[in-house]
Structure formats: C-alpha cells, structure tokens
C-alpha cells in the first residue's frame, strides 16, 4: 500500500543509517526512516498507527547526534540532520540480547502449543536478535491460563510482554479503555475490571497487533498453524466501508480474517463483525443444494430442475410480461455479478422493477448525483463534517475509528444532526437533535433559512457558525432512522446544499456492495454507470438488445404491487424482505401473494422459507471479483475457498438463467464481465481489467475515475478519451493499447467464438453491439425535491419512533455465525427518563406499543440518548421488531404506549 503521508513530505532531513545515506521527512521517527530505507529495526511495542511509547526497548539502536553514539529507542527519536544510526553495532547487539533475555525471563516457552508460534514477532526476534540462551533458572511468573476478556478474545497473561499495544489500541484508537495495565510493578498485568468485559466492537484488532500469543481470538484458537494457512488479500464485505483484509484458509475453509493497512480506508483495523462473521459461511445450515417447493414442503432438487423452474417463471417477461417480474436485492453481489444480474433483468427480461435497497437506503441520484467525498476528504486536517447519518459505530464501525482519529488528532469539527445521541455525540463540536422526520427543518435552519417561524436556539446558531466557517465541508449522509422515510432525508439534503453548495457528500449505506450494485444499475430507472434509462436507452439498446420501456418500481413499489397481485415472479437476490424490509406487514403479504418467489442466497432465512425456488449462491471468499465501497473505491475480492456444496457464483446463476430463456449474455469470465462494464458503463470508461488489478495492489480505483488517477494507475499518461477504444479506436495511444491489449485480444477471441456458436436470433450475444456510433450517455445528477415531504402533526400523546441498528443483531449472517450469534440483544423500548417518568412507568415495565400498523409487547428502559418525545426500538433484535409497527408509505411513525395488563 502506498503511504500518502510519506509522499507529501515537505522538509527532508538527511541521516546515515548503517553507513547508507537516508532521506526522511522532518518529524519522522528513526524507526520509520529506517523502514523506508529497507533497514528493519526489531520492535514489539511500536505500531505505525499508534503513538509511540517506548515500552519494550527492543528498538534501541546506536544513535549519534554529534555527541557520540548512544543507545536510544528508534521509535521515540525523531530524525535529525546529520544523525548517524547504527543498527548493527556491538553495543546495539548487546542491548538487543539483553532486552530479549529479559523478555524471555517470564515468557513461557510454550511455542509448540501457542497459536502465535510460526508468526510470532517475539519468536522471530528471539531467533534473529536474541542471545540464544538464558541465564534465568528461577520460576517464571504464573497466572491463570487464558481468561476470556470478552466473548471473542482470550488473554494469557503469562505470555504477555507488556508492550502496551492492546491497551493503547483500546484507549487511543477505539476509545474503549476496558483493558488496562493493573497491579503495576512486579506483577503488572493487562486485565479488565471485574465483570466489565472488553466489550468493544474492535476487540479483535488487539489480537492482530499482539506481538506474542497473549491475546487470541476464540474462533481461531487451535484451528490451524500459520504454515498451514493460505492467505490472499481481499476486501471485507460485512459492511460497505471496504476494509482491506487478508482471507486465510486451511483445508478449503476460511478460518481467519485480518486487517491490511490500506491508507485511504481502514488503516489495518477491522470491526469484530467483519473479522469473525466468516464462520457463518461454514455453518451446517448453509444452502448447498437447490430447493424447489411443491405445495408446503421444500425438497432438494438438481440445478437443472431448479433453474428450469425459475426460467419457466421468468419466461412470460419475454413476451410482454416484463412489468410482472421484479428483482429485489443485490447488495451482497460483487460488481461483476451485479452487472450480470442487471443485464439479465433489464437487458433480457426487460423489467425495471429492480432494487438493491430495501427502503432503508437513499435514492441513487443522491448517492451519485452529488459531488462525492472520500473518507480521507472527511478526515483531512481542519475539515468540517456534517453527520446526517445513522450511528456509524453500529453500521460502518471502522469509519467511526477514522472520524474519531480525525476529531482527536486532526482538528476535524463534527456537527451532528440526529434523532438520538450516537457514539459520535461525545466527539461532536455540536450535536443537534431533530424530531424524527424533521431533519429538513433543522437542515433549513443550518442552511440559513428561517425555519418556518421556529426560533433558533444556541446550539443551532453555534452549529451554523461552525458550518459557515468551514473551508471544506463533507456531509456524511445516511439514514439516521429507518422509522422515517428516505424522502425526509432527501429534503434535508436539498436544504443543506442550498446553504452549503460546495459541500461534498460521503454516503453511508450499510449493505456490503450497495454502492456497486447501484452503480451497476440494480435500481429502478438506472442502467450501469450512473445513467438514467432514458439517457442511456440508445446506447444500451444497441449493446444489450433491449432496455426497460420506462422507470420501474423501487422496493416499496415492488412489494406493494406484489401484495396487490401485480407481480407474478419475484427474484430475491440475497434479500430477505420478511426480516429486513422496514414494513413487515407489506413484505409478508407480498411474498404470500406472489406466484413464484425465486431466492438466490447463501443461508436460509424467513424469505427463503417462502420461496418456490431456492438457488444456493457462493458467499464471500467463494467468488472473485470487485466490490465498491461507500466512497466509490473499487477493490478486489478474492476467491479463497470453493463454494459450499453445489452453490454457484451469482453471475453464473444469472448467465444460466438467461441461457435457459434462450439468451446468451456473452459473459464468460470475471475479466470478461469487467471488460464489458468498462466498455458500456459510462462512469467506468477507461478503468480496464488491468488497471483494476493493478489498483488492487495499491489503493484501489476511486470512482468516478479521473484522468490523473488513470494515468497514475496505468503508469503512463493516457486520457479517458483514448481509453474509449471502442468508441474512438483511432485515438488510442500506444501505451494504452499495450496495457489493454491482452484482455482485449481475449475478449475478441471470446466474442468470435460466441458469434460462431450463436444462431442469428435477435437479442442474443448482445454485448457485440457496442462498437457503435452512439455517444456515451450523460451521468446522473441530483436536483433537490421541489416540495417538501408533508409530515403529520405532532401528536401530544404519542412518541415519534426512532428505528436504528446495532452491529450485532439477528441478521441472517450474524445468526449463523457461531462467534457473533450470542452477542445479539433482546429488543426493548428505549425512552427518555423524563418520558418514562411522565408515563408513570418504572424502569423495567412491560408495555404494549402500538402504531396504526400493529402492536408489540416489550420492556421499556430508560435511555437518555433518546430525546423526550421520541422512542427508540432497535431493528432486528430478539423478541420484537419495530418493522411490525412501520408503514413504509408514511414519512414518520408515531407510537402510543399502553401498560400491559
């Protein structure tokens, strides 16, 4: 990975390391400067993403600043001009011997049974720099062998060398100082407070950065030895943040994920869900064989039969019935699979009833139509961030780490606009509460409007001053609560952009590859590459043979139509509307009414249980491709293991379905799909397979791709125009041709072969049409809504409902992951203590909560994060789900509380 910070060094300093001249930037630590020069200084406590503490003394080397060489810790000493560093001197060697001999006094030599053995810095350093033997013959210190410090992490204090990495991480990076040095002195140990476990969403990182085997992760303990493990670099798809990871497998089973330091994204960190939920893919419940349902019971079937059934159900779409077919979901898919499904749905079936979001996201024109910000833009020195988003720690946890660091170390000011306190509230310079549904009211005030007669209180004007004084404003935008409609947030965006037209937007939609799926056209009204159906009609008709006649229905529309019997066949692409759609009643009615439900999924869930055809799909690490993170960064995902049972890659399934319907999608490999995406999807022009692969070794390719980035990734100066070889082949430069030649040849060969095989039916081999005279269609843009969403009047006896997520819930993946499943909590009604008192309830009262839609029985708890007048229920928790209360067509939901008799 490139380190941008190193590249922009301003003042350089010259020093000598082991006789070689080394350039470093002012303020850099000797240990970093040596690293950059390829000289490794052994270390335990130093970690490039944390503040140095000089605890372990392993990095002491001879440093001469003009007063003669002296042993100093390289992780604490900044470089200076003329400094002479000797990492190989006799005194250095003696010091290293001594440090290691001391460390090994108490460290047990149980390497043969230690998980870290084989990849252990202490072991490696002891071999490379240690004295070889110890003079210590006394008894080592003893502690109770591994104690669980959390549900996922175990601590063996005998192995601990007190490097302060885990405790520093917990305190400084995660802000969860639940593990601390205790009994400081001869008996110093890392431990938790009694009965207060290390319940951090980031606890797994301490296992990864532990330089010995003191911290081990429950799910990995004794599962493999490092030399049995095969690893590949990939990208985590547990949320949309796009943490770069290694996927590590043994015996064709993923057994571990670890963070990789991708400078613009995750800095090596991961959340525990991303780190540990891979075991859901190994679960015995995994879908391994196609299922078909005749009447009530589902039975196992062959792929041939199941695909045949599915194709039969989809076939009427080819003969004018396109509107009666719909596709829901797709955020789980890779970009390539999403494109293939978009091509099947829109280009073959001709339906635009396609939505990868389940009414819990944002419209694509908001995601793509606004100037986009990267994570680094939001976190850069001195910036200002306006958060109108869900609790980022719960939904995209590593963004929380990045923003926390930005606030604490880079002077970033955060203004938060939210219906309830979040984990960012303590870090925010100003935190404003809006009544659910009324984000736009506060947004208009912030944007400079009068707020419709509302008075401005101190907080709002302070926040407004902060935003007005901002030199660089990033709006981090998502759905703070799915108890209010997306339209209310779109209103707020319009109002904010009215006041701050230069703001850039970073969208936080949680689902794994939702940004990529939107980009590939798995959303109504859009075709791959940010193009509306109308704008791209000619271009894509020529390429695909067909595009939908008009904009179709979104998830809400699809389910509403299905409930009215207007949809005959519904394809669920990794979507579980029964659990995930915000309106349970609608989802249930819809799935009960639809003629045929085809589910393409990895694990059984409430919706696959109702499906007539279930097609088992390959899960994460079982299918290669690319994924797009929330800032639009295209990153590769690796296939590390074979799919479970007979499960197939999602794009195979689409291609096979098309084939059964008498169409050949012309897509035969991941590379071939990407070639077609590059050629057809306007926003991907120039981003060839080779460049994507090359980018994967660096920081990924950031969409929308620009010339500068292409040139950097391509290694030669090429222009986007020249990359459009199909459009304007004559202007392609030699450099570009060389870069693209191989894949292009492959593609042409493939196409020739495909051509030879095909009959001349219309609509077949549709990709060939792209050598065209059509101009590339223009990209999507956002226009603020002309009229604001109308909200119901405030009901003095009711409470407005806030529906938010937590990281660990009853989601399908969580439920089937043995390490995560136990962390889900029981649903409760969260009320402000004042409201609790006003309603005369004690803190553990069981209440009946009702809305116009339905009612739930749950326990009320006092929670001062909820402002008075609102009530919070987490979605997808054990016991009760707020989706039973929500009407997805209503902008907000008001609930009433009755005591349970």
């Amino acid at each position: 990975m490139t380190d941008v910070k190193r590249e922009v060094a301003v003042d350089t300093v010259s020093l000598t390391v082991n006789g070689a001249a080394v350039e470093a930037h002012k303020g850099q630590l000797v240990i970093d400067a040596a690293d950059n020069a390829g000289i490794h200084i052994p270390r335990f406590c130093y970690h490039p993403r944390m503040k140095s503490v000089g605890m372990c003394r392993m990095c002491i080397v001879d440093i001469d600043t003009g007063r003669g060489p002296a042993l100093q810790p390289a992780c604490m000493i900044p470089v200076a001009d003329g400094m002479v560093v000797d990492t190989l001197s006799e005194s250095t060697k003696k010091a290293q011997d001594g440090v290691l001999e001391f460390l090994l006094i108490n460290h047990p030599l149980d390497c043969p049974v230690c998980d870290k053995g084989g990849e252990c810095p202490l072991q490696d350093n002891a071999y490379a720099f240690g004295p070889g033997e110890s003079r210590f013959v006394e008894e080592k210190r003893h502690f109770e062998k591994p104690i669980p410090v959390s549900d996922l992490v175990l601590l063996d204090r005998e192995r601990c060398i007190l490097c302060d990495r885990c405790t520093r991480f917990a305190r400084d990076v995660a802000g969860d100082a639940f593990i601390v040095f205790q009994e400081r002195g001869g008996q110093t140990e890392v431990n938790t407070f009694p009965e207060h476990p290390f319940a951090s969403y980031f606890s797994g990182n301490t296992v990864q950065i532990c330089p010995v085997g003191a911290l081990t992760a429950g799910p990995y303990r004794f599962r493999a030895r490092p030399w049995d493990v095969e690893k590949d670099e990939s990208t985590c798809t547990s949320c949309s943040f796009g943490c770069r990871i290694t996927v590590e497998a043994s015996r064709d089973e993923v057994i571990r994920r670890q963070g990789v330091d991708l400078d613009p994204v995750n800095w090596g960190w991961m959340c525990d869900k991303g780190r540990f939920d891979f075991d859901a893919m190994n679960a015995s419940e995994r879908l391994r064989t196609p299922l078909v349902r005749d009447g009530a019971a589902a039975r196992e079937a062959t792929w041939s039969e199941a695909i045949g059934r599915a194709a039969d159900a989809l076939r009427p779409a080819l003969d004018g019935g396109a509107d009666r077919v719909a596709v829901l979901g797709g955020a789980r898919l890779t970009n390539e699979a999403a494109y293939t499904w978009a091509k099947l749905a829109k280009g073959v079936l001709g339906t635009d009833n396609v939505d990868c979001q389940l009414a819990d996201g944002l419209p694509p024109e908001v995601v793509f139509g606004l100037p986009r910000a990267t994570i680094d833009d939001a976190c850069a020195d001195g910036g200002t961030v306006l958060l109108l988003a869900p609790d980022i720690k719960e939904e995209v946890p590593v963004l929380f780490l990045r923003l926390r660091d930005a606030v604490l170390a880079h002077g970033v000011k955060v203004v938060e606009l939210t219906p309830q306190s979040t984990s960012m509230t303590p870090l925010a310079a100003a935190s404003l509460r809006y009544r659910p549904g009324e984000a736009a009211v506060v947004a208009r005030l912030l944007g400079g409007g009068d707020g419709g007669g509302l008075s401005i209180d101190g907080d709002v004007s302070a926040a407004r001053e902060l935003l007005r004084g901002a030199t660089r404003l990033t709006i981090v935008l998502g759905r703070p609560s799915i108890g209010e409609s997306a339209a209310t947030i779109v209103d707020a965006v319009g109002a904010l952009l009215g006041g701050f037209p230069d703001a850039h937007v970073l969208t936080v939609l949680r689902r794994a590859n939702v940004h990529g799926a939107l980009d590939m056209g798995l959303t109504p009204g859009l075709l791959p590459g940010h193009v509306t159906i109308d704008a791209g009609r000619d271009w894509f008709t020529e390429a695909w043979g067909r595009v939908p006649a008009a904009t179709g229905l979104d998830a809400t529309g699809i389910l509403a139509a299905a409930a009215e019997g207007k949809i005959d066949t519904l394809v669920l692409l990794g979507a579980d509307p029964i659990a995930d759609f915000p309106d349970h009643q609608l989802a249930r009615t819809a799935l009960d009414t639809v003629g045929t439900v085809i589910a393409v999924d990895v694990l059984p869930n409430a919706s696959t249980a109702l499906a007539h055809v279930v097609l088992p799909a390959a899960g994460p690490s079982e299918e290669a491709g690319t994924t797009t993170n929330l800032e639009g960064r295209v990153l590769t995902v690796a296939q590390k293991v074979t799919p479970a049972g007979t499960a197939r890659a999602d794009w195979h399934i689409a291609a096979e379905l098309a084939f059964r319907l008498g169409h050949d999608l012309g897509l035969e490999s991941i590379g071939g799909i990407w070639d077609e995406i590059e050629r057809l999807a306007p926003s991907y022009a120039g981003l060839t397979v080779d460049i994507v692969r090359r980018a994967a070794d660096r920081d990924g390719a950031l969409m929308p791709i620009d010339e500068a980035q292409l040139a950097e990734l391509d290694g030669a100066r090429v222009t986007i125009a020249s990359q459009r070889h199909r459009v304007d082949a004559g202007s392609a430069t030699a450099a570009n041709r060389a870069a693209a030649a191989e894949s292009q040849e492959e593609r042409q060969a493939d196409e020739l072969a495909a051509e030879a095989e095909q009959s001349d039916d219309e609509g077949k081999g549709v990709a060939r049409g792209a050598s065209t005279s059509q101009a590339r269609p223009p990209l999507l843009s956002f226009a603020p809504p002309a009229t604001a969403t109308e909200l119901p009047a405030v009901d003095a006896y009711g409470l407005r409902l806030v529906v938010s997520r937590t990281l660990y819930d009853n989601g399908t993946l969580n439920q089937h992951s043995p390490s995560i499943a136990g962390l889900a909590r029981v649903a409760c009604l969260r009320l402000n203590p004042a409201d609790l008192a006003r309603l005369g309830l004690d803190a553990t009262a069981t209440v009946e909560v009702s809305s116009v839609r339905g009612s739930l029985t749950l326990d009320a708890v006092a929670d001062d994060r909820i402002p008075p007048g609102s009530a919070g229920i987490y979605t997808n928790h054990e016991g009760a789900d707020p989706a039973d209360l929500l009407d997805v067509h209503a902008p907000v939901t008001t609930i009433h509380i009755g005591t349970k008799s």
Binding site: R171, D176, A177, F178, I179, V180, F181, Q182, E183, R184, G185, N191, T192, F193, P194, E195, H196
Partner: protein, 210 residues
C-alpha cells in the same frame, strides 16, 4: 454500602472541582472511598469512573498500583511488620511470626473480629530502629514480641484511640474550598485561568502584593 453516601458524593464533586481536568481527582476520590468503606469496593471504583469520565478499568489500573489503597476489606488497625534487610537482621521475621501466633491469622489476613489486618511489609525507612512496624502508618520502633503483645492489648482496649485513628482516615482530603474559589473543571488548553489563580492577590500582573 459501596457507592458514595450522599454526603460523600457532595465532597467528591467538590474534590473534582479543584482540578482543571476531572481525571486528576481519581486518587483523592479513592482515598475518600477508602475512608468511607475501609477499602475500595468495585462499586466505588465504578462510581469514581463515572464521576471523572473514565472507565472502571482505568480507575482500577491507577488504584491497583498503590499499596495503601486496599481492594479487600481491612481491619480497624492495619499492622505492617517490616521484614526488609535491617529488620530481618534484627528479628523482624521472628516478630512477624509472633504476630501471626498472637493474632491467630497469617500475614495478609484479617482477624475474625475485624480489628486487625496483619501484613508483611517492605522497608519502612526505619532501619535505625529495627525491627519496626506500623499501625495505620504510625511507627513503632525496636518492637519485641512482648512489646507487640502490649501494643495489641492497648489497641484492642481502645487505649491508643487518640493517637491512632481507624484505618482509612490517613488522607486529609476534606479541606473545604468555598465554591467561589473552586477551580472548576476548566480545560488546561483553553487558556482560561482557574478561579483560584485569577483571584489570587499574590499573582497580580505587576507582581505587587496588595
């Protein structure tokens, strides 16, 4: 009883107000809790964390460093018998052994009546008067086993109540600072001077003392 009583809660907040950074009050608050309960109960550590805005683990990390902050209930009289080198040479170990016999507990334990906690202790800096011991950190020099018996009898009978207060009252943290003189939890970075500095006549700009 482990959390602060309402009276002590007021004192705790006053203590916190003396420091520009609330976290600085952790040790005085530990003393207050120990004064209340005789030791630091878990609940007290949790509450201290809440009051100063750090985690209970961090409070424990600080408290567990200090020998004089006890995590277990302690007797009314804490008897520390020194067995470091000078005392060891002059009969400290024999004295400790005698103390164990006399009190009927091993070093580190508390008598059943809750009156005495016996501890083996590191050097008390009374090497010239070895063997030495402390009762609630008050010195007793050149202690013979017979002296020890007398001492224990006197303590049990309350004859030394005037000179040796009960365990937990060593720290005198109850100085009352009037609220208008309290520093308040101002940030040291913001540049605002705490009240007691700005008000102080000794620190006027011209250096004069009005």
């Amino acid at each position: 009883m482990a959390r602060f009583t309402s009276g002590n809660d007021v004192i705790a907040r006053e203590i916190i107000d003396r420091y520009p950074v609330a976290k600085s009050a952790v040790i005085p608050l530990c003393h207050l809790a120990q004064e209340q309960d005789g030791h630091l109960a878990d609940d007290a550590l949790v509450q201290i964390g809440e009051l100063v805005g750090i985690t209970p683990a961090e409070v424990l990390g600080t408290a567990s460093f200090y020998e004089m902050l006890k995590r277990e209930p302690c007797g009314r009289y804490l008897v520390n018998v020194c067995t470091s080198i000078s005392c060891h040479l002059m009969g400290g170990d024999e004295l400790l052994h005698h103390a164990e016999q006399r009190l009927g507990v091993r070093a580190g334990a508390t008598t059943a009546d809750g009156l005495f906690t016996l501890e083996e202790y590191e050097c008390q800096a009374a090497c010239t008067e070895a063997p030495a011991l402390q009762v609630n950190y008050r010195y007793f020099h050149n202690v013979t086993p017979a002296d020890f018996d007398t001492l224990v009898d006197d303590l049990a009978a309350g004859r030394l109540a005037d000179t040796i207060p009960p365990h937990g009252t060593l720290a005198r943290i109850r100085q009352r600072i009037p609220s208008d003189r309290a520093a308040g939890a101002a940030s040291p970075i913001g540049g605002a001077q705490p009240g007691w500095l700005t008000d102080s006549p000794a620190l006027t700009d011209d250096g004069s003392n009005p």
